[in-house]
């Protein structure tokens, strides 16, 4: 360890050990979250100052049960610990975080880590919970048995890491040389031997084990085959309501705020390209990013609450069989449910899925879930083209069509997931092996922290991409402007207009005319924009709600029924939302997957529109 360089400590530990809470307690707001280069694993780094005034850099590594890496996350932990990770300094010390109520597996990890030759400190975390449950742990004996300094911590309590800070100072002062590294991947028998040794040590140091009966009693209800599922469904409904309905007032507030801002610009700048850039490009672009925040915050509020309390693992347990049949992971339920409101928070929520392929599958099918932005488009076309008749014992035909569109969206998502799981990625040797941690009271501090982190990550990474794409779309739709003697709407003269006319023959086989072709380009910004875009193309002078009611009859007069139905089919599948692509880019850390999503969705959209157009034309003639 060099005397001048800032020492680097890496946090290692089993999942559910409270490692992240300890990281938060150490670093406070001095944290930075990014991605390790080339992989989708998050890199969480921070810094803190010890009591002796020494500055330490700390890295929170992904949780793992052993250094044998079975996922990209665990591979990062293994490589950073061993000093093999390119571009990452080998850590000067490892801080192993253990759950005091569940020491057995952590002790085995410590024994394995000793083979890496790194200096170790063991933090026995959540010691308060263990003591409350009646456990008596002889920390001094543990220290001598392991040959590693042992400190008790309570990460979520103020002052709970004081002992740890002191120990870190002492460890770094000792300047102990690194022991020779002789770690290799253990085989089954070596694992057994280490495990038996860990058991021996635990027996020697644990005078009385923790009493886990409270968790067991709660699980009698929450994991009950009937009651458990009902409680889960009620919870999922609550989450859905929150993201779908409760977020709405806040979203409206943000939208109104930005409209007001645009109004101010309206009053101060003369109409022209600059005015349009600021109001329709920049303000609308920023507004379109910020408007997602209420949904993201509400969704992650629930997710963090469920994770920290320990319930998330139970939800995965209950959902496993149902989701598995459709080729999805048990934890995909919350992301997909959120995607009914909007795929943006839904895709961000897929981080609860550890398995990379399951996560990718969920990310790729989330946009197919009928999101709320499709509703204005569906409503417009249904009210203009579907007669308000009653069929089959009192059911409204218009309502039936809307329901059918919803159902097809869900079914297509499940089908694509099935295809991906069975045909594209068939051999996935990742067994379902999930620890059900003891129930814990979530810490408010952690909750606020987690929400703050998700917000800044969204704004900084996804937000910048979404904003950039919005400005590009504005540019395509507004430049060049209409010439002074223009007779048609300005959009016809823009790049979007030119491209639209050029695309029209390609879209003619699915029944789309050139007006639709043009409208689809600004319609890439978001699904509900299609309504305003069609309004612009058909030169509807009204704005907002009045435009919708004026537009309906215009469409009914200009389009055939097969064309309208084909557009509905198109909208079930088409990737008319760059924000979705932006978030996929952020969550997968590459442009490949947004490209894959775009291509497969537009292909499905074309095929569906084609089939719908020709079949309905044949049936109606």
């Amino acid at each position: 360890m060099s005397a001048t360089a800032t020492p680097v400590i890496a946090l290692v530990g089993c999942p559910n050990s409270g490692k992240t809470a300890l990281f938060n307690a150490l670093t406070g707001s001095r944290q930075k979250v990014a991605n390790y280069p080339g992989v989708t694993v998050e890199r969480r780094a921070g810094a803190f100052v010890t009591a002796a005034g020494r500055r330490i850099q700390v890295l929170d590594l992904p949780g793992t049960y052993s250094l044998r890496a079975r996922s990209p996350d665990e591979a990062v932990t293994r490589d950073v610990v061993l000093g093999r990770f390119v571009g990452e300094m080998p850590p000067d010390a490892l801080l192993v975080v253990a759950d005091a109520t569940n020491l057995r597996l952590a002790l085995r990890l410590v024994l394995e880590l000793k083979h890496t030759g790194r200096t170790l400190i063991l933090a026995v975390n959540m010691i308060d919970i263990a003591r409350r449950q009646g456990a008596e742990i002889d920390l001094k004996r543990l220290e001598s048995e392991l040959g590693v300094p042992v400190v008790a911590t309570v990460a979520v309590r103020k002052g709970g890491i004081a002992d740890l800070l002191g120990q870190i100072d002492r460890t770094i002062d000792r300047h102990a040389p690194q022991a020779p590294a002789d770690w290799h991947e253990p085989n089954a028998d070596e694992l057994r031997a280490t495990h038996h040794e860990a058991e021996r040590i635990l027996k020697a140091c644990l005078a009385r084990p923790a009493d886990a009966s409270v968790t067991a009693r709660i699980d009698q209800v929450l994991l009950h085959p009937v009651a458990g599922i009902l409680i889960l469904l009620a919870l999922l409904f609550l989450i859905f309501q929150a993201v779908f309905t409760w977020a709405q007032p806040a979203m409206d507030l943000i939208k109104n705020g930005f409209d007001a801002l645009a109004g101010v610009v309206d009053a101060t700048l003369p109409k022209g390209m600059l005015h349009s850039l600021i109001t329709d490009g920049i303000i609308a672009g920023v507004g379109s990013v910020l408007v997602f925040l209420p949904q993201i915050l509400l969704l992650f509020f629930f997710i963090i609450l469920l994770e920290d309390s320990g319930y998330m693992a139970r939800a995965a347990f209950l959902m496993d069989r149902i989701m598995g049949g459709a080729g999805l992971h048990g934890r995909a339920f919350i992301p997909l449910l959120s995607s009914f409101a909007c795929a943006i928070p839904g895709i961000m929520a897929t981080r609860v899925i550890d398995n990379r392929r399951d996560r990718l599958t969920t990310i790729l099918v989330a946009p197919l879930m009928t999101c709320s932005a499709r509703i204005p488009v569906y409503t417009l076309i249904i009210s203009a083209f579907v007669p308000a008749r009653t069929v089959w014992a009192g059911m409204q035909l218009q309502g039936l069509v809307m329901f059918a569109l919803y159902a097809i969206g869900i079914l297509s998502a499940l089908t694509v997931a099935f295809v991906l799981k069975r045909l594209v990625w068939p051999h996935d040797a990742d067994p379902f092996l999930l620890e059900l941690p003891g129930y814990k009271l979530p810490s408010v501090q952690n909750l606020v922290f987690g929400l703050w982190q998700r917000t800044t990550i969204f704004l900084r990474r996804a937000g910048t991409i979404i904003f950039a794409l919005m400005v590009v779309i504005w540019f395509l739709s507004s430049v060049p402007g209409a010439p002074p003697e223009a007779t048609e709407p300005a959009i016809n003269y823009s790049i979007a207009g030119i491209v639209g006319h050029w695309l029209a023959p390609l879209l003619a086989p699915i029944g789309f005319n050139w007006q639709i072709a043009i409208a689809l380009i600004p319609g890439l910004a978001a699904r509900e924009v299609a309504v305003a875009a069609l309004g612009t193309v058909y030169a509807i002078a009204d704005q907002g709600e009045a435009a919708k009611s004026a537009l309906g009859p215009v469409l009914a007069a200009n389009w055939s029924l097969p064309t309208a139905l084909a557009l509905l089919a198109w909208y079930i599948f088409a990737p008319q939302c760059v924000a979705t692509l932006g978030v996929i880019r952020r969550e997968t850390n590459s442009w490949r997957w947004p490209a894959v999503a775009f291509l497969y969705m537009i292909t499905l959209a074309y095929l569906a529109a084609f089939a719908t157009y020709h079949i309905s034309a044949a049936l109606l003639s």
Binding site: L105, G228, D320
Partner: protein, 91 residues
């Protein structure tokens, strides 16, 4: 010499809810490929010869997956994967 018919060793994947016992063997020396990997994963989660096991809960559909208490850890596992764990009933 103990009568082998009185010790009803069975795969954990076939045990009923409420089962209590101890792990007799995990995997086998002849395990290859996916099974060998599964054996290591199970050991890492605490399924090791001599550990006390208790089958606490099972899923709603097809009684799968199962939640098993192994020593002081509770683990969810699919019955298909739990067949690699041979257990002896208590008592």
């Amino acid at each position: 010499m103990p009568d082998s018919t009185t010790i009803k060793t069975l795969p954990l994947g076939l045990a009923a809810k409420g089962f209590r016992g101890r792990v007799a063997r995990v995997g086998s020396p002849a395990s290859v490929g996916d099974d060998a990997e599964l054996e290591r994963r199970l050991i890492e989660m605490g399924f090791i010869e001599g550990a006390a096991v208790q089958l606490l809960h099972e899923g709603f559909i097809g009684r799968d997956p199962i939640a098993v208490r192994v020593d002081d850890t509770t683990v969810a596992v699919r019955r298909r994967d739990a067949r690699l764990i041979l257990v002896d009933p208590e008592g």
